[in-house]
Amino acid sequence: MTGVLEAIRAAMPLAGVELVNNPSPCGQHSLRVERKDVLAVAEFLRDRLGYDFCSNVSGVDWPPQKLKETTTKKELVDGVEKEVKTTSERDVPGFLEVVYHLYSISKKSGALTLRVRTGDRGADVAVPSLTPVWKSADFQEREAFDLFGIRFDGHPDLRRILMWDEFADFPMRKDYVPPDDFEYEPTPHDEILAKVKARTEAAP
């Protein structure tokens, strides 16, 4: 992983790439790439380092959270030095993330994990599509668009893939609230029902 990072930095010194540590026992660390550089980095990985197989594309929703931080300071209280704890809350803005798992079939190596972040969870949810680099990202990026609401710039056919076209929300987001009744659709018949209800309730 560090070898790949060094190769990217040597070839593209201005690219924003950093190592993300994974505390899990499996030790699969990943590389976070800035949005503006991800297409160039992906082409470099495919053409120069042999990562020809994009296995998995996954969206991840990181909702905004309040981080509690406790700091301990030594202060003089009434002339005696004491440890005083102060707790402060910090708002961490939420964002969406796309995770790519890459393998090299020619070199039989992998997995290399790439992560790309969106700006936030609202208006700034576009990242460059990697479908032009690896065709296998096609359906999987559509799925991330469908279920997470991540927009992929440069995707040849960005449509909903599993949900129906008229569906408005993004079900895999952490704050998604499912509707009470999936079957209900407003129909012209509703007005008639309302009239009937008003008349029957008015009658004794």
């Binding site: 994974n22 505390p23 899990s24 026992p25 499996c26 699969q28 020809d52 197989f53 994009c54 296995s55 998995n56 996954s58 991840v60 995770v99 798992h101 079939i105 039989k108 997995a111 994990t113 690896w134 065709k135 296998s136 990202a137 096609d138 359906f139 999987q140 799925e143 279920l147 893939i161 599993l162 949900m163 129906w164 079900p171 895999m172 998604y176």
Partner: protein
């Protein structure tokens, strides 16, 4: 100007696993396909969201419903990913049981495939009955081991749910010893058939470079001549201890994809013989592994296996809690459909079903 006329057809269901849940919007110029868009999602129940709302163990029975033809390999892929994430060791005997059940799953998947693709070519019934006769014997073994023919829910973190029942290994050995004879019979029945050869040979060839770029995995990738089998490259479980060959195709056409399944089934028989001979005594689950109250440490892991249909992977993120923070399935059936349009363009309408059949999909996994 009739030569400029095209016609839009909503094609399907034809393949047995697609009844009512998969169709293709096809544009035809005469009988030639000029555009094809697969339409799916009718079986979507957002498996990933359900799993994120339940405990780690509770997702195990749901994995049976992904590719419901092969529940045991689905179980294994999920167990493998969780074991990576939490650093759980697997009991030695369980490793052998996993290999045996996974290879039996591969056998019955490939056998069912032979029946299905014959059905796609119009040979309704007969070939499928031959195939299902053998598949049913394997499902009987699954039933006596796990209690269910298809929804097995058998693997656990660090091992398996229960030990083999008495006499199970002998029954499996008998089935495995008789299996090559069935494959010979099936091959003799099919490969001498002129219609079958005409319908498969040279249809929809796929180059190795396109297959890799399109994310094809499993038999479809190897039929295009790529030497890549996750059992060999990753050596997950105890596959590195077994001797087996990785069959490869040359042209990458429908016939190669068809024959590759027969050859792979023969290699699975070899693995099964070695695994049955080498299985040790001992516990079937790591006693230190937590099941119900599992809380993997914060972090993430991607675990994958060579499923019968291709690379089946699970990408899991834990925040240290009792539920997965992110639960992602890499479905080989869905990703193998990526190149369906490319394969079908320029072919005749009647070939489309054969091409779809040669990819071998299950909609429970495509839609999740």
């Amino acid at each position: 100007m009739s030569d400029l006329q095209t016609i839009d057809v909503s094609l399907g269901p034809q393949h047995p696993s697609t009844h009512g849940v998969f169709r293709m919007n096809v544009t035809l110029d005469g009988e030639t396909v000029t555009r094809l868009q697969p339409v799916f999602g009718y079986l979507h129940r957002n498996h990933e969201k359900i799993a994120e709302g339940n405990s780690w163990l509770a997702a195990m029975p749901y994995t049976d419903r992904l590719d419901y033809i092969c529940p045991l390999t689905n179980n294994w892929a999920y167990a493998l990913a969780v074991e990576k994430l939490a650093g759980i060791e697997v009991a030695e005997r369980a490793e052998f049981i996993r290999v045996i059940t996974a290879e039996l799953t591969r056998l019955q998947n490939h056998v069912a495939f032979l029946g299905f693709i014959l059905g796609d070519m119009g040979a309704w019934g007969t070939a499928l009955m031959y195939a299902f006769r053998e598949r049913e014997k394997i499902l009987d073994l699954f039933e006596s081991l796990t209690g269910a023919r298809m929804m097995c829910n058998y693997m656990r973190f660090g091992g398996c749910r229960c030990d083999l029942p008495p006499g199970w290994l002998d029954a499996t050995r008998k089935l495995v010893d008789g299996f090559p004879a069935f494959l010979d019979e099936m091959e003799a029945l099919l490969n001498g058939n002129e219609i079958l050869l005409a319908r498969l040979q040279g249809v929809a060839p796929l180059s190795a470079a396109r297959a890799i770029n399109g994310g094809m995995s499993g038999p479809v990738l190897r039929a295009s001549g790529v030497d890549y089998d996750i059992r060999k490259t990753d050596g997950y479980g105890i596959y590195s201890r077994f001797k087996f060959r990785v069959p490869r195709g040359a042209a990458g056409d429908c016939f190669d994809r068809f024959m590759l399944r027969v050859l792979e089934a023969r290699e699975s028989v070899e693995i099964l013989k070695q695994a049955i001979a080498g299985i040790p005594d001992g516990p079937v689950v790591n006693p230190k592994a937590k099941q119900r109250g599992l809380r993997p440490p914060a972090g993430e892991a991607y675990g994958r296996i060579e499923g019968p249909k291709g690379e089946l992977g699970f990408y899991l993120i834990s925040d240290g809690g009792d539920k997965p923070f992110r639960f992602r399935i890499r479905p080989p059936s869905l990703i193998n459909l990526t190149l369906l349009e490319e394969l079908c363009l320029g072919t005749k309408l009647a070939d489309v079903m054969v091409i779809l059949g040669s990819i071998d999909i299950v909609l429970g996994e495509v839609d999740r």
